[in-house]
Amino acid sequence: MAYQALYILFALGALFGGVNVVARRNPVNSAIGLLFTFICIAALYILHGSPFLAMIQIIVYAGAILILVVFTVMLLALRDPGKGLAKFFTVPQKLFALFGAALLGGEMFYLAWHALAGVAAPGDADLATLSQPATLAQALFGKFLLPFEVASVLLLAAIVGAVALTRRPKGTAAMIDAPHPDEQGGPR
């Protein structure tokens, strides 16, 4: 029971962070909301008996991906977007998006709550050993060795791609520092 209460607490925390991501005008505030979500989800992983995944979650998502995002926001020196909530699209578009998202979410929520609740566990592994890093490692380097290697190739391709995309040709000035063409107000 205590576990469930904790679970609901952290789930609500994750949702709160998610709302902040969507609603805050300033991207840095969104990023902090996302950080909160990541940490809450890591806590949920721990409650699921998988501290290994929780740590990986924080290292990869919070420590690498989100840092990159925050870095990009700061690097781009965006004009001060102001505080408070974001400017959305026009009202009909907004309502349409809200309707669509609510429909999707509701549908999935319904499925989650009713259809799958009674699925029995076939159980090919013990839950206590599931949480061990050794179990995960044996699966990762045994059954899933090929996908693992493919993932490493994917990461290599991503590195090369990122370098190729952001590299500026020799001799070009740092355009990134130029002021915005519409507004001559300097970068923040």
């Binding site: 919070a62 420590g63 840092i67 925050v70 870095f71 700061m74 890093p133």
Partner: protein, 356 residues
């Protein structure tokens, strides 16, 4: 053992650990100043109390009574959040460090709880990574929220630096993890009972060196303290902070210095194990307490060594710093990991325990 008893033990351990850690952090500032003074042929602070022992308290009082400035047009929430993240990451960092073997009298407790550390986590290595990657946010946000270009530059530099050196750090401790066959820090220390990892040629010294450099960069210590390069960036990411918010960054920095030394000791210098090859012939009941003494002694010496390094070397240029990280430490750590793995495999095949 009931849930509540375990909780009680955990709370008691946490209380003792936090109190000791904060006291050690406060006195670490004095320690640094007293260690650096002879290097510069000075005496160091010796006025507040006998041998200057009350100096940290005097510093804290001074910081408390300073004016708390919030810069104009700064993001108030993040401005407040950054020192909180910094100091709480410093406190979270020490939690996984093993200070000694089993606590006498708690043999019947679950194995995660009966040791001289907060918790014998089975993913403690990853935990330290996770906390150190969260600590970047304190610096990055502190630099950004102050609405000042110098602190922003300091924060950006530290972000890039910490991410870059995290890779070399992770790869350089992997041989130690492989040799112990576990991600638990207690197991890593226990695997060094006959031989410290640093003595395991060839991978030990190399890994130790890379890990120490990476940890210096992670903790933003000189010579890798470009984050707060006074000559270029004023005070770095905490330029715009004053009073106890600055104090929080300060506590985080000196707490991290202790934790970093403790982690280096844990991974490469045998943790709470005594000297290898030498049996002092002390009674067995003393060994848990002796473990604490060994650990404290090693950490103290290593902190002094890091201070010594800080006050000896000049700072590298920023591009040189990133160059070291990516072009020297990262490939070297990777090669070291490969060599260590190969030697361990061969050693296991031939029945040689030397390589781990």
């Amino acid at each position: 053992m009931s849930f509540w008893l375990a909780l009680l033990i955990a709370m008691a351990k946490l209380l003792v650990l936090m109190a000791l850690f904060l006291a050690a952090t406060a006195y670490n500032t004095l320690y640094e100043r007293r260690v650096v003074a002879p290097i510069q042929q000075r005496i160091g602070p010796n006025r507040a109390g006998p041998w200057g022992l009350l100096q940290p308290i005097a510093d804290a009082v001074k910081l408390f009574f300073k004016e708390d400035i919030v810069t104009a047009r700064s993001e108030k929430f993040l401005y407040l959040l950054a020192p909180i993240i910094a100091v709480s990451c410093a406190l979270l960092y020490i939690v996984a460090v093993p200070f000694g073997p089993e606590i006498p009298g708690l043999q019947n407790a679950p194995s995660a709880w009966n040791k001289f550390s907060m918790l014998d986590l089975n993913v403690a290595v990853l935990y330290t990574f996770a906390v150190s990657s969260l600590a970047v946010y304190g610096v990055l946000l502190g630099g950004w929220a102050g609405n000042s270009k110098y602190s922003l530059l300091g924060g950006m530099r530290s972000g890039a630096q910490m991410i870059s050196y995290e890779i070399a750090m992770g790869l350089s401790i992997m041989p130690a993890v492989m040799s112990a066959g576990s991600l638990s820090l207690h197991d890593i220390v226990a695997a060094q009972h006959d031989m410290w990892n640093v003595l395991r040629l060839p991978w030990g010294p190399v890994g130790f060196f890379i890990f120490m450099m990476a940890m210096l960069a992670e903790a933003n210590r000189a010579p890798f303290d470009l984050v707060e390069a006074e000559q270029e960036l004023v005070g770095g990411y905490h330029t715009e902070y004053s009073s106890m918010k600055f104090g929080a960054f300060f506590v985080a920095e000196y707490g991290n210095l202790i934790t970093v030394s403790a982690l280096i000791v844990t991974f490469y210098l045998g943790g709470w194990q005594g000297l290898p090859f030498i049996n002092l012939g002390l009674p067995a009941w003393l060994s848990p307490w002796l473990g604490l003494v060994w650990f404290g002694l090693k950490t103290l010496i290593l902190v002094a060594a890091l201070i010594w390094i800080r006050w000896t070397f000049p700072r590298p240029r920023y591009d040189q710093l990133m160059g070291y990280g990516w072009k020297i430490f990262f490939p070297l750590a990777l090669a070291n990991l490969f060599v260590a793995g190969l030697l361990m495999y061969v050693g296991q095949r031939l029945g040689i325990g030397y390589f781990g």
